[in-house]
Amino acid sequence: MKVLKLAKGNLDFFAAVVQQFGEVHAPVSRNGGFVFRRLQRWSEARLDYQRTILPLKKYFLPPRETLLRYTEPEGYQSCLEGLNRRIVLFGVHPCDVYALNILDEVFAGPYPDPYFQGRRRNTVIIGIDCLPDEYCFCSSMRADFVDHGFDLFFYDIGDYYFTLVGTARGDDMVLAAASLFEGVTADDVDRYKRRSAAKRQAFRLDVEIRDLPEIFEMEYESGLWEELGRRCLSCGACSMVCPTCSCFDVRDEVELGSRNGLRVRHWDSCLFVSHAQIAGGENFRRSRASRIKMRYYHKQRAFVAEYGRPSCVGCGRCLVACPASIAVTDVIAQLRETRNVPDR
């Protein structure tokens, strides 16, 4: 992998060059939080941000999107327009890059999703490293560093951004601003290593995920799920802010006075009572306890069986968003707790 550095004073110039690769979107401050959105001016960008309210899935799986259009007599026709809009996401944290890599797997497979993949292909990812706050546990989830899924990745090493070039497109961006980038020295690498060690020391939350799938199986009937079911409001906020929750509902919306219409998909949540309900009223997860258990089971256990790792990246958004203060880190800690049984 090509390794370079960019003087911090040159970042503005680089951002100007990047515009030729697509609309530049970056985190900006809004209502006391941060959101990713299209920049009006580069000066709006806040690369020192803490997590954005919504994750980047909104760019690839929009909260509402039209899949098909229905007209008579042509029938259903794909709506694939707009997937080629070129966007540069500038300043993506490692956990969010990791989450997109996970969604890539979900939307690939035997039936690739052309909507997700089309947008993904046309989006440039420029990552930036960060330091954890009190909600971050990405290091526990092995998502505090990423080795792929970005075109460029910037690490803050003082006066410079240590720059990893991840793709040919990333290399084109560097070459388009070749005079701004410099080679790295052994001292720069040392600075990077010190920064990396400091980051590792800065985490305040930690959970152990080894053998968690086994513990989930053993604690499947645990009373903890009933207790969480009593606290959970089934609001689905955790799913909406989760960078890897990708359940969706599909509905037909009909134009009044005709049978023409649209087939649209919307974000959905496994915490909603209708999630596993079939026509006729049978519901496989009627109780809130069974639904919150499903959410944890799917993220922390089922994904390991499917893809070899949990789908949680430890971004901390659900800890911030939950109105009932249910924290995945507490849930995992409680599942691992022992009940003072004497050793034999």
């Binding site: 359940c247 969706f248 037909d252 959905d268 999630h275 079939i278 026509a279 499903m294 799917h298």
Partner: protein, 288 residues
């Protein structure tokens, strides 16, 4: 190549959410609120090329109402049209019931694993259907009868509340006299007095069947009470847990492993099912 990849490879690489217009060529009302819809793709090439495995399903679109998963009731060996047995039970099925012959719907698929035909070949086949359970099992029954040499003894056990509640009743009655299979039909009660077959609960048919569990695959579908009694009986007879096959029903919005609704434990009903073994059922939470 995995079975899922194999099934996916049968379909064009275009938009997997894109259904294809199909015309309703026949509506055959069977028991109350259950009708068999015969469909033909409008595109003649598609109509000729469509292939499925027994036990697979399609996503059926009813314009203006939505899309739903429906198991394919016709045999893979009878091509050109597609038969779907649909119960009127919700919003989209009610919209379907308002359509008439010659009107258009749309179909994509086939999806799901289907029955493991390759493993089942050369074995006895026991098909057990209770209530409306025949809908997803009919494709297997006819596949086996159309490829009679691929299977040893074939036994069908089907039960309904009364004769008029038996799904595909006429068709099944016509199989009773066949010498190359054993078709056992029973009803809980016979208000008409015209029923010439067995009367009693579904499990009572085991008394009339010749079953050799070590060389038999059982395919079961029905309401929960059927599973409860039939599964217990099959285990008592010595069936291996991975030779008891069941077809499951779940909410589905995509049919292709993306929307998340049909997940059971770490399986997706649409990709890993809808045919599961009893061993899967024991190992996955909330399965039946």
């Amino acid at each position: 190549m995995s079975r899922i990849a194999e099934v996916a490879a049968l379909q064009p690489a275009a938009n997997p959410y894109q259904p294809h217009s199909a015309r309703i060529v026949r509506i055959y009302r069977m028991v109350p609120d259950n009708a068999l819809f015969t469909l033909r793709f409008v595109n003649p090439e598609l109509a000729a090329a469509f292939r499925h495995l027994p036990g697979q399903f399609v996503m059926l679109s009813v314009p203006g109402a939505g899309e739903m998963p429906i198991s394919i009731a016709s045999s893979p060996s009878r091509t050109g049209v597609l038969e779907l047995c649909v119960r009127r039970v919700g919003r989209v099925t009610s919209a379907l019931y308002r359509l008439k012959t010659n009107e258009l719907v749309a179909v994509r698929g086939p999806y799901g694993n289907g029955f493991p035909i390759r493993e089942m070949r050369g074995h006895d086949l026991l098909i057990v259907a209770g209530g409306l359970g025949m809908a997803p099992l009919r494709s297997l029954l006819w596949y086996a009868l159309d490829h009679r040499d691929q299977f040893e003894r074939i036994t069908l056990m089907c039960g309904a509340k009364t004769p008029r509640d038996m799904l595909f009743g006429e068709e099944l009655v016509s199989l009773v006299d066949r010498s190359d299979m054993s078709c056992l039909l029973t009803v809980d009660s016979d208000p008409t007095g015209a029923w010439k077959h067995h009367i009693g609960l579904l499990p009572s048919l085991f008394d009339h069947a010749r079953i050799n569990p070590p060389r038999t695959y059982a395919a079961v579908c029905g309401p929960p009470v059927v599973y409860q009694f039939i599964l217990r009986r099959l285990l008592e007879l010595g069936f291996s847990k991975d030779r008891i096959l069941m077809s499951l029903e779940r909410r589905m919005k995509c049919g292709i492993g993306k929307c998340g609704h049909c997940s059971i434990g770490y399986k997706y009903t649409c990709l890993d099912g809808p045919i599961f073994t009893y061993w899967d059922a024991i190992n996955l939470p909330e399965m039946i």
